[in-house]
C-alpha cells in the first residue's frame, strides 16, 4: 500500500466507514441500475457475477475461478465490423459501460495494474482502456489465505500496489477504506469519517499479524523473489521442464485463469452473404498448439516442456525484467486449475532452486 502511495506522490485518503452504510450505498447504486459485479459462491468455489444485492457477496472466499481481468479484457471481444458491398466500410467497435467491481482481492487488483502497463504504456489498446476507464475497482483485503494454492504473500502481492479506486479492510463493524483515486473518493459520497492515527495504527497491527499468519500458512518460496529472473535464466536447460512437460496437457487452463496472461488471437468471422463480417479477439495462451503455430503450419514450440518454460519465463523473467514486477501475483489459480500439477510457478521455482543448489 505504501507503494501505491508513493506512486501517486502522496498519501492516500483513509476513512472509517460503518459496514452497514457502505453496503447500503452499494445496494442503492444497484437499485439505481448501476451494474455491480462481485465474487459469489459457485458450487464449491467462487466466481464474479452481477449481483442484485450485497447480501450475495462472498467475502474472503476462495479465489474466483476466472480472474477479474475478464472485465477489462473479456474472453471474446469484437474489435470491428465490416461490410464489403460496392465500397468497403469498416467500423471499429469499442464497447464499454460503467461497471463497479466489488470485493476484488489484491492478486487481481495487482493483475490489472500489470495489465494497465501492458495495454497502455507502449501500445495503447483502445478496447482495454475504455473498459478500464469505465471500471470502479473496490478491493477487499484478505486477512486469511484464500486457498491452499495461493502464495500472494511470497509475491509481494498481499496488498495492492496500484490499480484500485477503493480498498476495504474489515475492522468488524467498520471498513477501513483507502482511497486510490478521485473516482473512489466520489463513489464514497462523503460517507464515514477521516481515519485517525489510532485507526491507522490498528490496521498496521492487523497487517503485521496477517503477514505473520500468511508467512506461516502459505507455501514458502525458497529463492528470493528478486532472484527469480536470474534463477530461471540460468536454468534454461534444467530437466525440470521436460519432466513437467511430459505430464502437461497443453490445455491452456493456466493461461485462461491467470490474472496477467494477456495474449489473444484475432479472427475474422464472415457472414454467409460474404459481405458482412466481424473481427474479434479471443483469449489465447502460450501453452496451446494453436498459439505456437504460424501461418505456414510450422509449430515453433512443439514440446510442452518448452511451452511450460516459456510461460514460467514470461511470468518471472522476461516481463519481470521488462516491467520491474513479477507477472505472477500468487493467486494460485493456475496451480489449482492444472489437473496434473505441473504448472504452479512457486513449485517450479522451488524445484529449480533446490536442484541447482544440489548440482
Amino acid at each position: 500500500m505504501d507503494q501505491a502511495e508513493s506512486r501517486r506522490g502522496g498519501r492516500l485518503e483513509k476513512y472509517l466507514v460503518a459496514k452497514t452504510s457502505f453496503l447500503k450505498l452499494v445496494d442503492e447504486q444497484i437499485k439505481e441500475g448501476k451494474e455491480v459485479v462481485a465474487p459469489v459462491r459457485q458450487e464449491n468455489q467462487a466466481n464474479f457475477r452481477r449481483i442484485k444485492s450485497t447480501a450475495e457477496i462472498l467475502w474472503g472466499g476462495p479465489q474466483t475461478v476466472v480472474s477479474a481481468k475478464s472485465f477489462v479484457f473479456p474472453p471474446k471481444e469484437e474489435l470491428l465490423n465490416y461490410e464489403t458491398n460496392d465500397e468497403v466500410r469498416v467500423q471499429p467497435r469499442v464497447e464499454a459501460k460503467p461497471l463497479i467491481l466489488l470485493g476484488v482481492h489484491s492478486c487481481d487488483i495487482n493483475g490489472m495494474a500489470l495489465l494497465d502497463k501492458v495495454f497502455t504504456e507502449k501500445n495503447l489498446d483502445e478496447n482495454y482502456v475504455k473498459k478500464r476507464e469505465n471500471l470502479t475497482v473496490i478491493g477487499v483485503e484478505c486477512l486469511e489465505p484464500c486457498s491452499p494454492e495461493s502464495f500472494c504473500y511470497r509475491k509481494d502481492s498481499v496488498l495492492p500496489w496500484d490499480g484500485f479506486d477503493l480498498f476495504l479492510t474489515d475492522l468488524g463493524k467498520n471498513f477501513f477504506v483507502e482511497v486510490g483515486s478521485a473516482k473512489g473518493e466520489s463513489f464514497l459520497s462523503g460517507l464515514g469519517k477521516k481515519a485517525t492515527q489510532a485507526d491507522v495504527d490498528r490496521v498496521k497491527k492487523i497487517r503485521r499479524e496477517r503477514d505473520a499468519k500468511f508467512d506461516e500458512k502459505q507455501r514458502k518460496l525458497k529463492p528470493k523473489l528478486s532472484d527469480l529472473p536470474v534463477l530461471l535464466k540460468e536454468n534454461y536447460n534444467s530437466p525440470v521442464w521436460a519432466e513437467r512437460g511430459a505430464r502437461c496437457f497443453g490445455c491452456g487452463s493456466c493461461n485462461m485463469v491467470c490474472p496477467t496472461c494477456y495474449c489473444f488471437d484475432v479472427r475474422d468471422c464472415v457472414e454467409l452473404d460474404l459481405k458482412h463480417g466481424i473481427r474479434a479477439r479471443w483469449w489465447d495462451g502460450c501453452m496451446l498448439t494453436d498459439f505456437t503455430r504460424i501461418a505456414t503450419g510450422e509449430i515453433f514450440r512443439e514440446d510442452r516442456g518448452a511451452r511450460l518454460r516459456h510461460r514460467t519465463y514470461r511470468k518471472d523473467y522476461y516481463l519481470f525484467e521488462k516491467w520491474g514486477k513479477s507477472f505472477c501475483t500468487g493467486c494460485g489459480r493456475c496451480g489449482k486449475a492444472c489437473l496434473t500439477k505441473v504448472v504452479d510457478p512457486l513449485d517450479i521455482a522451488n524445484e529449480i532452486y533446490e536442484r541447482s543448489r544440489s548440482r
Binding site: 474466483t64 505430464r247 490445455c251 491452456g252 485462461m256 479472427r267 468471422c269 452473404d273 483469449w283 486449475a337
Partner: protein, 248 residues
Amino acid sequence: MAKPKVAFFDFTCCEGCQLTVLSLGDKLLDLFESVEVVNFREASSYKGQDYDIAFVEGSIASSKDIERIKEIRKRAKVLVALGACAHTAGVNAIRNFHNQQEIRKMVYGDKAWVFDSILAQPIDAIVRVDYYIPECPIDKEEFLRFVSQLLNNMKPFLPDYPVCVECKMKGNVCNYHKPNPIICLGPVTRGGCGAICPSAGNACEGCRGLIPDANLEAMEWLLNEYGVSAEDKFRFYRMYNGLMGMKK
C-alpha cells in the same frame, strides 16, 4: 459467379447432423441464397448427382458404403466429413470392440445374413477428406462459419485447443474439482463446442475427437489419480474415440 452446388450424404448415423443444418432457421434461407443444394435427403426428394461440395455424415459400416463413398469422392471437388460418425466413426465404432458374430446376431437376429455389415470406419479410412466438422451432432455456428469461410476462400478455422479453454472462458468449476468429481475428457478433446457438456454439468465424452497432440499419458495419470478402473477408461474412450480419432 455461379453458386457452388452442395450435396449432403448420409452413411451409418442418425442423420442428426443433417437435422442440425435443417434447424438453422433463418440462416438456412441465407445458406440456400449462397449455395445451390442439389441433394439433401432430410429436406428434399430431389437427388442431383452434379455437385461441388459434398457434406458426408455417418460412418462406413457396410461393403456397399465403400463403393458409394468412393463414387462421392470422384464427383466432389471438396469433401467434408460432417459430425462424429464421419470424423472418428463415433459411437458406431463401439461395435468394433465386440465379437462381430455376436453383435450381428444381437442387432439383426436371425436375419443377420441379409446385412453385409463390417467394422465401422471413419470416412477418411476409405477416401481423402478435405475438411472435418466434428461433434455429435455438429454445432450450427461452426457449420455456418465453415461454409462462409470456404466460400470466401479462407482456411476454415478448426480449433486445436482442448475443451478446457472454452470451459475456463465460461468460468465453470472444473468437473474434477466438484465435490463429487465428474470424470471428463475435456483436457484431450478438441474444443469449439463452447464446452457445452461441462457447462450443463456433464462430462465431456470426447465427441469432437482428440486434439492433434493429446497427451494421453497425462490423461492416464489423471484417470488413475481419480481411481478410474481400466475397464471404465476403455468404455470412456470408446464412446467416441475407440479408433483414437486424431485429425490434423
